[in-house]
Symmetry: C2
Subunit: 492 residues, 2 copies
């Protein structure tokens, strides 16, 4: 255990990593349990894959180089093969399905929650380790599979306490945009141009129609004077795309008719419209109307691998950031249909669709709505008056625990004053004291620590000091559990 | 996503890693929730630390070399500093305590459950990634802290369903052995010799008194002819140590008197006896007698960093291995007092004690006792007769879920035959079918899949085939939930 420099190591964490405390962990546990319960009620079952995968299996080698992408944490195994820590839960799923294809009941529907790692530059609120919660359906090209995920996302957000109207799950289809591009004379094979168009549309919220229009055309100079090269579309082409993503139709039916016109005779566009209509019909028949799941052509999702439906769950209310400013929070979950991931391994296309929840983002949202109230039960600290006889305190803590309460006997070496400070610092609700005289009388003292702290703040006169005494109560030793429960009840 | 060799990547995992399926994950979830509930009832609170730590902070550099120990997974960060994946949860705890010492309520009592990684040679049942569940108390030298952990371990095993008598939590103290060594004339500073003695004693179960005696003396030749060099103790010294670890005393009191004689005038031995007696007294007064927590001088624990009390939870019943042979299972949890870990960072000794559960080992034990019955609720699969109208099936699945059942509408593209095969493969309890004629009559069919499968096994005659029809039942569509519940109840 010696460090190479023989000096004492610093007690610190690498950048972009952090420790997490009880309140956050317990609130997250509760949230994850709720999501799990909804997903399991839909018949999804859990899968776990390891932290490491072969870099090759993750598809994370740099182009034309025998070295992993720097965005993932990678190391060489004993046998000189590169392994990487998973950077999402989708790539491991594709590997799992390819490896076990024959044995899986298909459609294969699994959920997975776990840590993923990104070897990226950390920043405020941006960590290199975080948790995702994914649900995917592999082996079904049916609109039912997409519709089910959208219903499940809506149910999940409501199960977590968000009210209908506080969130919206948005739906779009990549094939529609492809159809509009094709109808505009942009070849579908021109992946580079398609990428520029996708990224431009993704900025609609921030840059508005004019900014996106410039990015679809020759390009755009931003406020700092930097120039971003555009997609090089003609004004007519750009107009067509803008009419698609920022429609001026009066209602959804008119919008769909407009899209029909925009995709024209494009086969892929027609396929997209057909998929979309099937999903929307199923959603509406199941009670998931546009107040829960909404068609929105502005949703494109950044990732290149989506091939059909794309989803995004958003909040409709503003969130205050740490500076107290209202900010648009963006999405808490997203996903879509990807039909090519398994084919990487097998050469065979396997239709798949999935949705991923950003766990810490969703936690922030719930916290801002007061929906992450502590899952901690109130704590009772039984002090130890006579160190040579801790057993009496242990017996009391045991009795309290047996009654379903959270209770501990003090296990340190401190004097009574230290023990009260400890109980305060722990945020304990009640301290139990059994002094020598009390024991002789068959009594113990209960101290209501929360009330005591409240009263102490206003101690300004002798009268108040006396009132403060009410935060303390002598009770019969035999009535310990009953009296503690009564005091806890009085605090609510 | 291109691989360097432009060929398709293989769908496989690095050696020593594995995927885990629903049954195992759900049983483990349930087990972890039970452990968490016991630990939280004792007032322990969760802490999470990241997967990565600086290699320096883990104390995992090789002696005199600027390179990490090969037993841990390590890589260099952007800034050329070595990071390693945690190989246990104790080293990160020490780092956390050292970094946050002033702000922690002390004694600091936390539990942590999480993945740890060992870059070791994998083998059958030996993985390079596994889960630990630790509880530690930092900042208390009191016997209360050790006793509490022992009580908590006993309570946890019983909360998981193990009967008293099926397990035993064993307790020893390193200082007793040190006292015996000192009284035998082995210098406490001779860490190398002490290490050989510890490892020899650890083999008592396997080699017996004679084998250990040889290892304490000049050495031992095993069956294959390999010679292991011994500690080089004299016969008298070896005898004294053997009298300690394999006592011939009639009862515990006689054993303690014997130990008193063996440690003689050794100060460290006397301190060990005193610590042990305090812990045992507290345990006995709290109802944790030798049927739950037992003093056993044979328990030494391999790790070098223990400084006082050492613990080990063992099973008292034999386990059958995969070949059906009865094997001694060894420990499912272990720990002890370590007072030097935080000092690595701060130079200041901080007393600490902890216990760690090997999660997958404990799972195997519970499984062998039938205590990991599936946490899965029975699954209902609602088939889709007419693909253009999946909404009717979704509505039924929704109704069943709203009634608290686990239900899914089939989301694949298969025909009815495929759908039944799917339901079978999923282990579904009931399939729901609404054909065209049935819908006209306002009816649906429930198929008891488990019963059907059972009956199908014995189809030998026409009569039995008719009986088989009883696995199927036509019910009113409006009575779907009631009838499904009744059928599930009948299956129990």
């Amino acid at each position: 255990m010696s460090s190479p420099k023989q000096s004492k190591p610093k007690a610190r964490l690498p950048r972009g990593f952090r420790d997490r405390g009880a309140a956050e962990i317990m609130a997250e546990q509760k949230m994850l349990a709720t999501i799990r319960a909804v997903y399991e009620s839909y018949g999804f079952e859990p899968l776990e894959t390891p932290a490491f995968e072969y870099t090759e299996a993750l598809g994370k080698f740099l182009p034309d180089v025998d070295r992993p992408n720097e965005g993932v944490f990678s190391l060489k195994d004993d046998d000189e093969q590169w392994m990487s820590l998973r950077y999402d839960l989708t790539a491991p799923l594709a590997r799992h399905v390819a490896a076990n294809f024959q044995n899986l009941a298909k459609p294969f529907r699994r959920y997975q929650t776990g840590t993923v790692w990104r070897n990226e530059k950390p920043g405020p609120g941006r960590f290199r380790e975080f948790t995702q919660f994914d649900a995917d359906t592999v082996g079904s090209a049916s609109a039912s599979a997409d519709a089910e995920l959208l219903m499940m996302a809506s149910d999940t957000l409501e199960a977590l306490g968000l009210k209908r109207g506080d969130y919206i799950v948005k739906l779009n289809n990549r094939k529609l945009l492809d159809g509009v591009l094709e109808a505009s004379g942009v070849a579908l094979e021109d992946r580079a141009k398609r990428g520029i168009v996708l990224r431009a549309i993704d900025k609609l919220d921030r840059l508005g129609v004019e900014g996106v229009s410039a990015l679809l055309g020759q390009g755009r100079k931003d406020e700092s004077g930097d120039f971003t090269k555009g997609a090089g579309l003609s004004p007519e082409q750009a107009h067509r795309i803008l009419a698609f993503v920022a429609p001026d139709a009066e209602d959804e039916d008119a919008h769909l008719r407009q899209i029909g016109t925009l995709v024209g005779s494009s086969a892929v566009g027609a396929a997209g419209l057909n998929e979309l209509e099937q999903i929307v019909r199923l959603l509406q028949a199941s009670g998931y109307g546009p107040d829960r799941v909404l068609f929105d052509t502005g949703v494109v999702r950044g990732l290149d691998y989506y091939t059909g439906a794309v989803f995004e769950a958003q909040l409709t209310f503003p969130i205050r950031n740490e500076d107290g400013d209202e900010v648009v929070f963006g999405s808490v979950a997203g996903g879509g249909r990807y039909d090519d991931l398994v084919a990487r391994f097998t050469g065979q296309q396997v239709p798949a669709t999935g949705i991923s929840i950003g766990v810490s983002r969703l936690m922030s949202v719930l916290a801002s709505r007061g929906l992450t109230a502590s899952a901690k039960a109130p704590l009772i600290v039984v002090t130890v008056f006579d160190k040579t006889d801790a057993a009496a305190s242990f017996a009391m803590a045991q009795e309290l625990r047996a009654a379903g309460l959270r209770a501990e006997a003090y296990v340190g070496n401190g004097k009574m004053g230290d023990q009260f400070k400890y109980a305060d610092k722990r945020g304990a609700a009640i301290a139990v004291i059994e002094g020598g005289d009390e024991r002789a009388r068959g009594e113990v003292t209960l101290k209501d620590l929360a009330l005591g702290a409240e009263l102490a703040k206003s101690v300004e006169s002798r009268a108040e000091w006396v009132a403060n005494r009410e935060a303390q109560k002598s009770v019969k030793r035999g009535a310990l559990v009953t009296e503690v429960k009564a005091m806890l009840k009085g605090r609510q």
